[in-house]
């Protein structure tokens, strides 16, 4: 997917002013955070599970080549085929080739963030295939021609009214002409439309929440059952997954599953957890004839080798964005690429470059809420700060900020001059503010006031001045 992250500032301001979006965001606010908190409370061993998950992920990442080979061998043993895609472009090409070779016309898709990342839909549509998203949220944004704004609730930015309009506009061709207003009606109508697509589809593409190395199994979690229908009804099943999705054993996958839904939606488990292991066997009654796995690197092995390795532990639960006050204020689209919120603010610059996405690691107050809830304990604020360090070293940030910081560092390491400067500043500001006690504007400090706030004035004397005087008096 093409990045719009360079325009983060404009996009975030636009999002703050978008009243419909704000209605949708406010409705979603707290929902997941409250549900997660309840789920965690109900599982005393949650923190121990997190430690176990970190150990599983770290071990796998340290031996990633080994486990990927084991996984690939197992898939081939089961009669499937593994394709290695080093870039997004490779991944798109491979998927298109498989669909062409299968003589496909219609392709159904389960929700897949890596699919969004590499731009599978665009490539397939460009090659003349009809592609239908089957996850309700993904289906909605496909109708709206928009990217997802959240990694587990892709259409969280849409209001019920907007969705009703989209269905009304797009479903008339199926003879469904009534304008709906209730959620169950809309879900039923989408289900009705999608059902025929499942049956018509030649190829089904899903992502993977986990790939199990010992058995060559891919695991997906859904709440709608669309994943099952996508991977078992069409003739060909393609799994697209990042290389970091592999775990050694089924036991490991279940440990992570216990954390995933609780962290994401506050469910103990999602409604469906689907395991798929290769094509239909001789005595199976159904299943795909062909089973392909496209393993996507696209920058992940670079991440593995540098200081961002911990990011590869991410299991895409979305807890970080559900607890991020910046995400809560502006929504996911402002971030400008596939992955929004804290995890996206680490991944995006690593994928599309710091020059393009330098705003993302900076647009964070380092409040730490994301790291507190991350099921695999990724130190997101530290990683964001590391990106800021990289940006500083590459001299990509704002020049006036660099100058200001350099001046401040000089001041702070010259205490006598610092003392004098702060005394003058405190006295001057207090005098200028006068009887009001605060400023409503000030030259060179426009940023502060742009946030719709005044600036309290200092009391007048610095603490150091008061203290020095007091010590003298005490001495007398």
């Amino acid at each position: 997917m093409e990045s719009l992250s360079h325009a983060f500032k404009e996009r975030s301001v636009h999002a703050l002013k978008d009243e419909t979006l704000q209605v949708a965001l406010n409705r979603a606010k707290d929902g997941f955070a409250v549900k997660r908190a309840k789920a965690v409370e109900g599982l005393p061993e949650f923190d121990a599970l997190r430690d176990r998950a970190v150990a599983i992920k770290n071990h796998t990442l340290e031996n990633l080549d080994h486990y990927l080979e084991r996984y690939a061998d197992a898939v081939e043993r089961n009669g499937g085929k593994v394709h290695w895609a080093s870039s997004a472009e490779d991944a798109r090409r491979i998927v298109v080739e498989i669909c062409r070779a299968a003589g496909a016309k219609m392709i159904t898709k389960g929700k897949s963030m890596v699919g969004e990342e590499v731009g599978v839909n665009g490539a397939l549509e460009g090659a003349g295939f009809e592609v239908v998203e089957t996850d309700l949220g993904e289906y909605i944004i496909q109708l709206a021609h928009e990217p997802p704004s959240h990694i587990i609730v892709p259409a969280v930015h849409k209001t019920r009214g907007q969705i009703a309009d989209l269905f009304h506009e797009n479903h008339q061709k199926y003879g469904l002409t009534r304008k709906l207003s209730e959620v169950p009606e809309m879900v039923n109508e989408a289900r009705q439309v999608l059902r025929s697509k499942y049956l018509e589809a030649d190829v089904g593409i899903t992502g993977a929440n986990f790939l199990i190395a010992e058995s060559g199994t891919s695991v997906i979690v859904t709440n709608e059952g669309n994943g099952d229908l996508t991977c078992s009804l069409p003739r060909v099943h393609i799994v697209t997954a990042g290389i970091e999705k592999v775990v050694p054993t089924a036991e490991d996958a279940t440990t992570l599953l216990r954390l995933l839904a609780r962290s994401a939606t506050g469910q103990d488990l999602t409604t469906y957890t689907t395991f798929s292991t290769g094509p239909k066997r001789a005595d199976d009654t159904d299943g795909p004839e062909e089973y392909h796995v496209v393993l996507v690197d696209s920058g992940r092995s670079t991440m593995l080798a540098d200081q961002f390795r911990e990011m590869l532990r991410c299991i895409r639960c979305g807890a970080c964005m559900n607890h991020c006050p910046v995400y809560g204020a502006i929504g996911g689209h402002a971030y400008g690429w596939v992955y929004p919120g804290p995890m996206g603010s680490v991944l995006t610059p690593l994928s599309v470059g710091l020059k393009e996405a330098g705003n993302l690691p900076n647009a964070c107050t380092l409040n730490g809420h994301c790291a507190e809830v991350c099921p695999v304990r990724i130190p997101l604020p530290d990683l964001l700060r590391t990106l800021r360090h990289r940006e500083y070293q590459l001299k990509l940030g704002l020049k006036p900020l660099r100058w200001g910081l350099a001046a401040w560092v000089w001041f702070t390491s010259h205490p006598r001059i610092y003392r004098l400067g702060t005394r003058v500043q405190a006295r001057m500001l207090a005098t200028l503010a006068g009887r009001k006690g605060r400023f409503t504007r000030m030259p060179l400090a426009g940023g502060w006031f742009k946030g719709g706030r005044d600036l309290p004035a200092p009391q007048g004397e610095t603490f150091m001045a008061v203290w020095t005087r007091r010590q003298k008096e005490r001495g007398q």
């Binding site: 703050l16 409040n367 360090h389």
Partner: protein, 271 residues
């Protein structure tokens, strides 16, 4: 107590420890009363308080903007000023957290890293120092107002400060604490974040102000001046007559001055 703060604080507590007060640049410039309140509280728990004249800033602006070499330069100044004390006490969870992070700045300088680690081990945020290290569980102060409390993020998450200020506030005569909905959600200050992304920051602090208004309390307390300046700035703009104090001012019985951003001589706008 922080994970790194165990060296000097276990076993035998020092009877009259020498405490170096790191007043923080914001308290120094904006709110000397916070420094005076900190001194008063520390003396009440038997500390001998000193204020090194060479202290400046904790280095967070550089650290959080990616200038690690600059942050290290500022940190050296702080270490030199404070490493000889029994304890370093800071009336800010954010700045205390920064001092705890100093060892990270000296990955390639073992000598300095050792000194940074030693100092981090005896550095504490003020309120948690009073309760967790000095065993204080009540203060001799009164403040007959309904107040609400904002948990600043760094104190809360990096240092585990949540119950300590509430425990002490419960002993303040006449004070009624009304808990703030979303008290653990960031106010939108975030250091330079608030001027780099003022619109987002402004929305966050407006949400905070709404939550404060919903409590009906006319006083907001907190443990970090950065957040408090932000919150006071927003409340001042809204003109709702809510005053903002650092929690230490109330605990020391020194909240008899105007709140942050209230007119001088008003004794608080909200009487």
């Amino acid at each position: 107590m922080s994970a790194t703060g165990s060296e000097t604080t276990t076993d035998r507590p020092i009877e009259h420890p020498r405490v170096g007060l790191f007043v923080t640049c914001l308290a120094d410039i904006y709110r000397p009363n916070v420094g005076l309140a900190a001194v008063a509280l520390l003396e009440k728990v038997g500390c001998s308080v000193e204020v090194p004249q060479t202290q400046t800033c904790c280095g967070q602006p550089s650290y959080n903007n990616g200038d690690l070499a600059g942050a290290a330069r500022t940190a050296r100044n702080t270490i030199e000023a404070f490493e000889d004390f029994d304890y370093v006490v800071v009336p800010s969870g954010s700045c205390a957290g920064m001092l705890h992070d100093y060892p990270r700045l000296f990955e390639s300088e073992p000598g300095w890293q050792q000194r940074a680690r030693a100092m981090a081990g005896k550095t504490h945020e003020l309120i948690s120092f009073l309760t967790d290290v000095r065993g204080l569980d009540a203060v001799d102060a009164s403040f007959a107002r309904a107040v609400t409390y904002h948990d600043s993020c760094h104190g809360l998450r990096a240092l585990g400060i949540k119950e300590q200020p509430r425990r002490l506030l419960a002993s303040v005569g006449g004070l009624e604490l009304r808990e703030l909905n979303d008290s653990e959600i960031c106010c939108g200050f975030g250091g330079t974040f608030c001027v780099k992304y003022p619109e987002i920051s402004g929305r966050m602090v407006a949400d905070k102000a709404d939550a404060i208004a919903a409590t009906g309390a006319k006083v907001v307390l907190g443990g970090d001046l950065g957040c408090l300046l932000n919150i006071a700035g927003r409340l001042g703009r809204e003109g709702g007559g809510v005053s903002v104090y650092h929690v230490a001012e109330v605990l020391a019985g020194m909240a008899d001055v105007p709140g942050l951003g209230d007119p001088p001589g008003s004794g608080g706008r909200s009487r």
